[in-house]
Symmetry: C3
């Protein structure tokens, strides 16, 4: 366990930090979609550069399979679901939910050699988790179920966006509250002096935790009013990164009422890489107070959609610039407050190295088959 050094230091991003060229991490659970996106109609989503089709069986169980007919590469999401089977729209091949072939009309048979890769799924309230590693060996110890999203004591709002940017920039963005008063200036959630608030960082194994305190802050007026709270506020922010596809935020806000009201929110950011330069960005904010207050939910939705879109646009602007600007020798600078984000990037670089080191074995297995 390490603490951030207090000495200011300016460095450059260098070797050992994950970036656009780092292989995407496979042996993890990612949120593939919100559960309500998956219906009896097949739905396509590309994750880690693999095209995947999702649908539900008659009993409601979700299915994820390669969205590519093994016969002639036809996209299966344009086909139909018949009972629990997925039917290809080109030659009518039928596949069971476990990926095995159920029927090839042209053969009037169901050959074992024709099958779809399927993906282990876990449904967790509104979240549909997908295991992107070896489908035979999903590691359930790496699955982090979210209590807030199934417990009756919590209410949540959620949203999603398609982001034409690498997912790592979003991780950096989220470990860093110093951009609040600037990129999110219009929401009134921090003033410039809060940018210098020190962060406490803890790293243990492959888990990174960070927290910081913002005293005497404002909040978006519509939320303050809907929540019946009274400014100014003291805010503790907690961050937890334990897998490549999620940033688990928690925010504890204490108001100036007498006695003070205390508000706890989970702020969950989901970044599921589509490619190295595009990301499915989903988010949820959950609270355990005034959970039936529809007006409060509506105001939180407005702020979430608004502020997280600012992050998305910023990260897309960066992605576009990086492709455009051929400035020789440019390397981004690191400042003290980047410590948390940089640790995340270092962690992911280590995880990628570990996966690549294990890869030859996997490749041999494929070759032997």
């Amino acid at each position: 366990m390490q603490q951030t050094a207090n000495a200011p230091k300016i460095g450059s991003k260098s070797i050992g930090v994950a970036d656009r060229d780092t292989p995407l991490l496979r042996n993890y659970w990612y949120v593939a979609a919100f559960s309500d996106e998956i219906t009896r109609e097949p739905m396509r989503r590309t994750i880690l550069e693999e095209d995947i089709v999702f649908y539900r069986k008659e009993d409601g169980t979700p299915v994820a399979a390669q969205n590519r007919c093994p016969h002639r590469s036809f996209p299966l999401h344009t086909g139909t679901v018949k009972g629990d089977r997925l039917v290809c729209g080109y030659h009518g091949m039928e596949f069971n939910a476990d990926g095995s072939c159920a029927h090839v009309p042209a053969l009037n048979a169901a050959p074992r050699a024709i099958r779809l890769d399927t993906y282990p799924l876990e449904e967790d309230g509104p979240l549909l988790w997908i295991w992107m590693g070896d489908p035979a060996k999903p590691d359930y110890s790496r699955l982090v179920r979210q209590e807030w999203c199934t417990s009756p004591e919590w209410a949540y709002v959620k949203g999603q966006m398609y982001m034409k940017a690498n997912y790592l920039g979003l991780h950096e963005n989220l470990m860093d509250l110093t951009h609040f008063p600037f990129l999110h200036g219009k929401w009134n959630i921090a003033r410039p002096e809060h940018a210098a608030a020190p962060a406490k960082i803890e790293e243990e194994g492959d888990v990174i935790r960070q927290s910081e305190t913002h005293d005497d802050v404002d909040m978006p007026p519509a939320i303050v009013e809907a929540a019946g709270m009274k400014g100014p506020f003291n805010r503790e922010a907690h961050h937890l990164v334990q897998m490549p596809g999620m940033h688990q935020g928690m925010q504890v806000t204490v108001d100036s009422s007498d006695p003070p009201k205390r508000d706890v929110q989970h702020i969950i950011h989901i970044m599921t890489p589509e490619t190295r330069t595009s990301t499915h960005y989903l988010w949820a904010m959950a609270r355990n107070n005034a959970i039936d207050d529809a007006e409060l939910s509506a105001q939180i939705q407005v702020v979430g959609d608004g502020a997280f879109t600012e992050d998305k646009v910023a990260l897309e602007d960066i992605e576009e610039l990086v492709a455009r600007d051929r400035r020789p020798g440019f390397r981004e600078k690191i400042i003290k407050t980047d410590e948390g984000g940089i640790r995340v990037l270092r962690l992911f670089a280590r995880l990628a190295e570990r996966e690549q080191a294990a890869e030859p074995e996997a490749r041999e297995a494929v070759a032997a088959e």
Copy 2:
């Protein structure tokens, strides 16, 4: 001459089968355009990755030349035709129909060193054939004139589409009637059980023939009515592939009238590669009965436009998926009914090898010049 083995077998596409990486075949005649596309106005079409300009001389003879002024690469199709000459819109250079320079205004001369490559053409009714090999050595033995398109005993309808997909997928599609009840389900031309109809395949030299029989099939009602036939029908389908740019289909349909009516149709599919991932797709359907029946022609046009657009869309969807899905180690599976298509792909792989083997000689010739 070989017959299809009857034993079902599942294999994978592998070496020896033409695919997107196979060099396009040059020493063949392709249909460049329908004749009525070529007028006195210059028209551009890219074929086998060469940009070509087409126009007609005053006497109506079609001309095909490189669409690139040898002087400064200006596209000649934006210029004008003056008499039989093509005039570049940039510096006014004039070229004769044989590609020789007729006039360079800036020199007031017509230097021999400035000339256009031209392409041997053959007009065959509605088809304008172009030789894409060495222009000095067009091989007329490889030109397959189509009797149906010039004989007064035949009537035809035709159509064309631009397809953002490699041309080989269309060849596979056409050797395979097993997709009829699925991709073309709405046209009523086969039921799922017909997918298993066995095909007879013959291969002799560089020519592949295939045929199959569908008994007790329906036909699109509007066509049945316009043709004055009576279902159900027995149908023989014949396929002939003897060059990379055409699939010659023929269909013999016998109805349930007493005595039975017999209908013969040529169904010609033209796939002229633009690039390795885009194709000019032209088609024609010719019949020798009721050739003056405009209503029947109109109904055939509807079915042709509709059904062949389904093929085009399917092949474009596949092309998009192949570019998107980076699934490691994926290789398409082959089933028994793919035999005909696979033979075509093997044939084209052999033809490409043959051309590449002859290439060094051609390159030396260019270098010597």
Copy 3:
């Protein structure tokens, strides 16, 4: 100093001639923008593949800096200008006009290690020049101030376009009046026989001059009328190329009045490469007669916008064709009247070789830093 050989000769473009693959030339002044484009609002423009932000200080001095925050690559043009400082919209980092850091909110400090590259600028009437070489060593001997654009004795009109084409084609276009009667046929500025007018070319050091005479020419009627001149005209055209980003044209026109009227115009073409296949094309036409005649200015504007757009479209058509046409072994032909343009291309090839030869030293300097 060399004269054009009179013997007609047809050659091919070959080694020694700059083309799309030639590295862009850095150690020169380019026109970054028209001065009135630069305001207190930050403006982005990519030049030589570097993304640059422009704004004005409170005293009006223009500033050019890398449009990429050194911290997280955020595009600075989306930020704000505060006093003389540029403020990043992501984390609020502030930069002085000299590129040094003025304030990092998260550090409450201004570290020296965080800074922007800035670009030497020179404002010259409507032209904002930028030095794209080593910012520490702008070579003012290479800056060619334009008298016509600051002298009260001259009036000018100007225009600008974004051109999706390499800048070299525009240089070739401008050394060559032989395209006037064809590409610009509708403006009545030359007849086909003028294409053969011989050019006089002088080359001295890195400077190329060319001139030619067109006797008995017409002019666009609206300009003739507005200028109160009388056709036919004799025209001397002068060309001067002494840097990669500008073609300095001058045109002396003598009319058929008694006594003859003599009109002198500077026709300045500015080609600032964005990338190897895109160019910022700016132009100006300056005259020293009837300088207060708004109607004459308006007519010149119409002709400039119209005719130079014809060049832009032609060069974009060529760029598109070059990417499309994979004709093997194609090489553009050179004719006698291309001599001037080819000399420019040879000059730029030599300049690029010189810069590349000096490059290792520059790279060592970067590495040592």
